[in-house]
């Protein structure tokens, strides 16, 4: 098995003639957290959508365990073990919480351990455990976000892509979330984390790439968390 689980090799993505991501290369290994930060429109969400097969690449390649997945359909990529917590949650508001979680199970390669994982996410996010028969649309914004994360976790992912998971969460729940991410990382899952909370991300991730207008302009390590000036410089140019 290749040491690197997910590799972006000089990836470019465009919306029509407008480039959204340019010549981006990055790697995530098992048990590693890689952060992706930048201002709005920097290309962070586009990168995650491209990995998931939702956007086609204009150039470059995306490799999972050394195999190109750039031309695969999103459902095939999901079943390989890549899970995305999309921006804006995208839970099913008219479905019960339980049904939303059951949809997460579709990405699993095996049903074995599914009940254990369901138990685990219910312990992680007690608020959703208490509402399993409620319509997901009736949950609070923070609870919906927890449900979106829980849904990704029960798919037993090998690569977890998170698009602003802390958005709309109360600070105590953000702590819970990052504790959970640490637990997932320690299980050997590769995590690619897009966040607005740059400092939190830099401190938590093994590496954090700063994107600006689709270009990777800077890579920071946890030791750079105190260097806010450098980060601000990279954000705004």
């Amino acid at each position: 098995m290749s040491r690197v689980l997910l590799e972006l090799d000089h990836v470019s993505v465009s919306y029509g003639s407008v480039p959204a991501v340019r010549d981006l290369s990055l790697e995530v290994a098992p048990g590693e957290v890689v952060g992706l930060v930048g201002s709005n429109g920097a290309g962070k969400s586009t990168t995650l959508a491209a990995i998931m097969g939702v956007h086609r690449l204009a150039a470059g390649d995306i490799l999972f365990e050394g195999i190109s997945i750039a031309k695969e359909q999103p459902d095939a990529i999901a079943r390989r073990g890549v899970a995305l917590v999309p921006e804006g949650r995208h839970i099913y508001p008219d479905f019960t919480v339980e049904d939303n979680l059951r949809l997460g199970l579709l990405g699993r390669s095996t049903r074995e351990g599914a009940d254990r994982d369901l138990e685990w996410v219910r312990r992680l996010f007690p608020a959703i455990a208490d509402s399993s028969t409620r319509m997901a649309g009736l949950l609070s914004g923070g609870q919906q976000q927890q449900l979106a994360i829980a849904r990704a976790l029960v798919s037993d992912p090998r690569v977890l892509l998170l698009d602003e998971p802390s958005l709309g969460l109360a600070p105590s729940v953000v702590d819970t979330l990052f504790d959970a991410l640490a637990e997932i990382r320690d299980k050997g899952v590769a995590i690619l984390l897009v966040e607005q909370r740059a400092q939190l991300t830099v401190a938590f991730a093994d590496r954090t790439h700063v994107l600006r207008n689709g270009d990777l302009v800077l890579t920071l390590g946890p030791e750079d968390v105190v260097d806010t000036e450098r980060m601000t410089q990279a954000y705004f140019g």
């Binding site: 459902d75 995305l84 995208h90 949809l103 997460g104 990405g107 649309g137 919906q144 798919s155």
Partner: protein, 293 residues
């Protein structure tokens, strides 16, 4: 006509159009495709029964199911290159297929059509007091109840149903979660073909002359029902189909006999008013679920 008699007849047509509406809504849900050629599946079923005259009934029923479901799957193959096309392109394509098929039937079977000769004795009525109920009316209601019950079980209680509902509600997210898009779309066409075949069997008894526009005349009111009920959601669309069928019979009874020719005018006037008041559909729920922040 007595009130109970009216209720029974209205329910029978409602059940039939509910099945057609569900067949349309199933495919629309997963492909955002309004299949105008859906009526032609019913016509294909009718002509299958015409061509199998003289066969044992069981074989004719089986042949109708096989041919209609296979035709539905063939439509899926035809529409496959259009999955990423705009809604307007898909709509025009289904229109084109519908008219192509209708003219093929015209060419092969002629404008007069052919008699189907399928289970005609089911048109006999049983009399209970002053009620006269045809056997096929009872069968239509029972079949509607059984099939709608089956579909509701399939969609509500099974994993494949959950996947179909997810694909219908938010296709991109469903794929991201691992729902196999191709398989779900194919299943939607199989199920909608299955419903079309079931509708054919009831219609073949009630309207025993197969003409080139045999299914199209059923498709139009059902499609109106789908829009009135709420396009894009299975239960509201199905209820819309039922409501149109039900309203057609009730209005037909309420209108003075000399004014029956205006039945469609009155019906469509009501539809226009409904859509003006509830543009998202009659059964979609006004409040829905508010966006949470």
């Amino acid at each position: 006509m007595s009130f109970v008699q009216l209720l029974i007849d209205a329910t029978a047509l409602g059940a039939l159009l509910a099945l057609v509406a569900m067949g349309i809504a199933l495919v629309f849900g997963v492909m955002r495709l309004v299949n105008f050629a859906y009526g032609e599946l019913i016509t294909i079923g009718a002509f299958t029964l015409v061509l199998t005259k003289g066969w044992p009934i069981v074989l004719r029923v089986l042949a109708a199911f096989v041919v209609v479901i296979a035709s539905s799957l063939l439509m899926e193959v035809i529409f496959r290159p259009l999955r990423r096309a705009t809604a307007a392109t898909m709509l025009v394509a289904t229109f084109a297929l519908s008219f192509l098929l209708q003219n093929m039937f015209l060419f092969i079977f002629g404008p007069q059509g052919e008699t189907i000769e399928f289970l005609a004795p089911l048109n006999r009525a049983i009399e209970i007091g002053d009620l006269r109920i045809r056997w096929i009316t009872i069968i239509a209601i029972a079949l509607g109840a059984v099939l709608l019950g089956f579909m509701s079980w399939l969609l509500g209680k099974t994993s494949v149903g959950l996947q179909m509902r997810a694909a219908a509600a938010d296709f991109t997210t469903a794929r991201i979660l691992g729902v196999r898009a191709g398989r779900v779309i194919m299943l939607a066409f199989v199920l909608s073909g299955f419903l079309a075949a079931a509708v054919t069997l009831v219609l073949a008894v009630q309207r025993p002359l197969a003409t080139p526009n045999y299914g199209f005349v059923v498709l139009v009111p059902a499609l109106v029902g789908v829009v009135v009920g709420g396009l894009g959601k299975l239960v509201p669309a199905t209820l819309g189909g039922f409501a149109i069928g039900f309203a057609t019979v009730v209005l037909g009874d309420l209108l003075p006999s000399g004014s029956r020719v205006f039945l469609n005018s009155v019906l469509f006037a009501i539809v226009i008013i409904v859509l003006l008041v509830r543009p998202d559909g009659l059964f979609t729920g006004r409040t829905g679920v508010a966006e949470r922040v």
